[in-house]
């Protein structure tokens, strides 16, 4: 019995499932089984044993036995650790990283979000041929930035099987953000299944891991609540489109155990504090295919950096972190008690959990998972769902007055935009038409950034949105934009094919950036899933809907039916990867090569 208890009571967890979700208390690598349950990776004020700092690093990629669920499995690890050792660099230094491959297959390490020469970026097929078995590759480059980052494999599915770790770069002078304690909180998704099997399952059945589909029981519940006619109307459009409002993510807690700093929820990673101290938590979503909604009940989170770049502090209760994003927060617990660090998956089928406590061994209450949300009309058609004259364009009977709110769906997000605005002109690519790999095109995408996304709207908590993020110091590139490139995120949920403009990586030509030009990238999400899009080697400077600088990032999460724009200064010569950071979407084709020349 492998499926998850949600608080809608639809399914009951069996004992084995509980262990699967909660994991073993002492799960993890051999090092952890040796009693490694005290705080790992405290940058200040505690244990330093898994931190490697300096300018020269020797890393060995190999196989290590792990056990997170009661079943021994082989993970791909760095120096035998999962996650790999915390690397600590200093801005302004030159680092040398000798990476030795002890596997039987080629491997690679990519330094995520780091500005470096393209041949040091670590993407096989784009930056270099990868690291052959037995070989050592020497990465050498100057460090030109500071903040919270991470590293991971860019070979096959090795990232899913454990090849990842945190990367912290100290600023050249004093740290601008003052903190008494400094912890990395790395979130990951572990599966006992072979990731190649996960990929094959999705190819054969797109909803393989979705155990939250609407059922007859939901239908009868709706009938008794809103009547037959309304219950049918609520389903009409989804059914006609052969889509599911519960298609939130492809891989779920049906196979994943979520980890915090390599510890299962039962393992309970703990960070120590003294009441009144300022504690910096550097959240890194190092998962392969998961979004986490993070909060610490009882504490306000002051967000101070996003993707390694300092932002004007903003006080929130909760934030969503997409795969590959990082988010630094400051908390100041005043009471002498434990607080739970709760990171529930977007699909509400599990969570990563840890504890902030004054003393080891303490625990606080773990919140229940939020109800499983439904995608809303906003997620399907963007701005059109908000009504107004745009609605008349919809040649669809079920549309007007449609209210999905009945069974747990959310109303449209709050917006400051007047009715009918908030949508921009879309230009679909020729290749999106008559293409079996495109199951949807959005005509009126939404452009507002103040939507926290499905499952977080109107939940009673102050949830971070991209509209809240303002990079300190503004844009690095004041020059005007000289060219626009529009790309659409496309896919077919049933065939499990993904791409840009309807084209898989294998079907597409590289994207050319002219060296030195200042580009505006326009992304329109023509799917009902959220895609964290990552451009290697150059910053992505997200713009507000009126094209003003918003926040500097390396990974930008694009919500369903959303149109976002960001600026890129093409100042890094060479070949770069550009892709969705959901590993299975990337492998299925949502990947492009960018050439700067």
């Amino acid at each position: 019995m492998k499926y998850m208890k949600r608080n809608d009571g639809l399914s009951v967890p069996m004992p084995s499932r509980r262990r699967f979700v909660q994991g073993l208390a002492l799960g993890g690598t051999a090092a952890m089984l040796g009693g490694f349950v005290e705080p790992a990776w405290a940058l200040a004020g505690s244990d330093q044993r898994r931190v490697l700092s300096g300018t020269t690093f020797n890393l060995e990629i190999g196989k290590t036995e792990v056990n997170f669920t009661g079943k021994p499995r082989i993970a791909t690890t760095v120096n035998g650790q999962l996650p790999g050792p915390l690397l600590r660099w200093r801005e302004g230094s030159n680092v040398t990283l000798r990476v030795t491959n002890r596997l039987r297959v080629p491997t690679s390490i990519h330094w995520h979000g780091i500005l470096l020469p393209f041949d040091m970026d670590g993407v096989p097929g784009v930056s270099y041929p990868g690291i052959a078995p037995g070989e050592t590759f020497v990465y050498r480059f100057p460090v030109k930035q500071s903040g919270t980052y991470w590293y991971h494999a860019h070979s096959g599915f090795q990232e899913q099987t454990g090849l990842y770790g945190p990367l912290i770069i100290d600023p050249p002078g004093n740290e601008r953000i003052r903190a008494d304690r400094d912890y990395v909180v790395m979130l990951n998704d572990w599966s006992d299944e072979d990731p190649a099997a996960i990929f094959a399952h999705l190819k054969k059945r797109g909803d393989y891991y979705n155990r939250g589909e609407l059922t007859a029981r939901d239908f009868f519940g709706d009938v008794s609540r809103v009547g037959l006619k309304q219950a049918l109307a609520e389903r009409k459009m989804w059914n006609e489109m052969r889509m599911s409002p519960r298609d939130l993510v492809d891989v779920t807690g049906a196979t994943y155990t979520y980890l915090m700093n390599g510890a299962t929820p039962a393992g309970n990673w703990t960070g120590l504090f003294k009441p009144g101290e300022r504690v910096r938590l550097r959240f890194i979503n190092g998962s392969s295919n998961s979004f986490f909604d993070v909060r610490i009940p009882g504490l306000k989170l002051s967000v101070v950096a996003a993707d390694g770049q300092d932002v004007e502090p903003i006080l929130v209760d909760e934030f969503r972190i997409a795969a590959a994003e990082t988010c630094d927060v400051i908390v100041q617990p005043q009471e002498d008690r434990a607080y739970t660090v709760f990171a529930q998956s977007m699909s509400r089928d599990g969570y990563a959990r840890g504890t902030l406590a004054p003393r080891p061994g303490m625990k606080a209450e773990v919140p229940r998972l939020d109800p499983l949300p439904l995608l809303s009309m906003t997620d399907m058609m963007g701005a059109m769902a908000r009504g107004g004259h745009a609605m008349q364009g919809m040649q669809h009977g079920a549309m007007p007055g449609m209210d999905m709110g009945g069974h747990g769906s959310e109303p449209s997000p709050p917006t400051h935009l007047p009715v009918g605005e908030g949508s921009a002109k879309v230009r679909h690519a020729r290749s999106e038409y008559g293409n079996p790999n495109v199951d949807l095109r959005v005509e009126t995408p939404r452009t507002n950034l103040d939507d926290p996304g499905v499952g977080l709207r109107d939940n009673g908590r102050r949830v971070l949105t991209y509209a809240d993020l303002h990079t300190i110091g503004g844009s690095l590139y004041p020059d005007p934009v000289t060219r626009e490139i529009e790309l659409h995120l496309t896919g077919n949920m049933h065939r499990f094919t993904w791409g840009f403009d309807g084209l898989k990586f294998s079907q597409a030509k590289p994207i050319h950036f002219r060296y030195g030009e200042h580009l505006r990238i326009i992304l329109v999400n023509d799917t009902m899933m959220t895609h964290p899009i990552h451009l290697h080697g150059m910053w992505s400077e997200l713009e507000s809907p009126d094209e003003q600088f918003q926040v500097r990032k390396h990974t930008i999460s694009v919500q369903p039916a959303q149109r976002i724009t960001y600026r890129v200064q093409a100042d890094a010569l060479g070949r770069w990867a550009y892709h969705c950071h959901l590993l299975y979407h990337m492998e299925a084709g949502m990947f492009r090569e960018v050439v700067v020349s």
Partner: protein, 276 residues
């Protein structure tokens, strides 16, 4: 001949129904997505997906992406024991494919044994290619065995997912000596819970001309309506219980009666649905 005329409209109806579903689907796609919206602000302007500026592909040594990697699947939609009014036996319905997103070799086989002998077997080998977001085109050959002489056909059809999630297969066959046939199959999955799934299934076979040696009359020869309730222990393994109603029509019914078989049969079925 008279029978043929009698059933011709029915046959036409099936052809029309299937093509209409497919065509409407394509049209609906046009309505909703492809055509510019009436609202001027939302009208689409088509652009090129090519931003390469004519730079060529560089070497891709070490590139490792699975987008086009071939996969294989074997599905036993039905693998069952049946107990009818007059007989009992075993039946199976399988599909298997190998290939990537653009091209697949698709095998289908359906058969029935009763009283220790093969009563009916249909095997198809098809080339499958996607033609729409939800539809595949299939072309290939079919071989029939069982009662009477074996028959071979050329096959051409569509398989896919209709609005509301109906899985459809519609195939036209052309055989030797001017034989023609049409096969239509539809399935639906109704989730009672996340694991308990009710699967209604409908199948109909039509023939252009009679083949008395195989006890087949012209026109609508037979139809089946099934209802199976399965429990998914895992996605890939689900035992089921169900009922299936089979009806032979017209000349086919007469030929069956002459052979001592009923024209209508109601069966209880128990089996496994499994895939790899």
């Amino acid at each position: 001949m008279r029978r043929f005329f009698w059933h011709a409209p029915v046959m036409m109806l099936f052809v029309l129904a299937t093509t209409r579903v497919y065509a409407q689907d394509a049209m609906r796609g046009m309505d909703r997505h492809a055509m510019p919206m009436q609202d001027a602000g939302a009208s689409s302007e088509i652009r090129s997906p090519d931003y390469s500026g004519d730079i060529g592909d560089g070497p891709m040594t070490g590139m490792d992406m699975r987008g086009d990697a071939p996969l294989g699947m074997l599905l036993f939609d039905r693998l069952e024991y049946f107990d009818g009014r007059d007989d009992h036996g075993a039946a199976f319905d399988m599909q298997a494919w190998y290939g990537n997103g653009a091209n697949k070799l698709w095998l289908k086989a359906e058969g029935e044994t009763a009283a220790g002998r093969l009563r009916d077997l249909r095997v198809e080998a098809l080339w499958d290619r996607p033609v729409g977001a939800f539809w595949d085109m299939q072309a290939g050959v079919r071989h029939d065995a069982g009662i009477g002489p074996d028959r071979n056909w050329a096959a051409f059809g569509v398989q896919g997912l209709a609005p509301y999630g109906f899985e459809l297969q519609a195939t036209v066959y052309v055989g030797q000596s001017g034989r023609t046939a049409l096969r239509f199959e539809s399935e639906y999955e109704l989730l009672l819970t996340q694991r308990l799934i009710l699967q209604p299934r409908f199948e109909a076979n039509l023939y252009g001309r009679a083949d008395p040696q195989r006890r087949i009359g012209s026109g609508l020869s037979d139809a089946a309506l099934g209802l199976r309730l399965r429990y998914e222990f895992s996605r890939q393994l689900a035992p089921y219980l169900g009922v299936e109603f089979e009806r032979r029509f017209g000349e086919t019914a007469t030929l069956a009666r002459d052979a001592g078989e009923p024209a209508f049969d109601a069966r209880l079925v128990a089996g496994l649905r499994l895939w790899f």
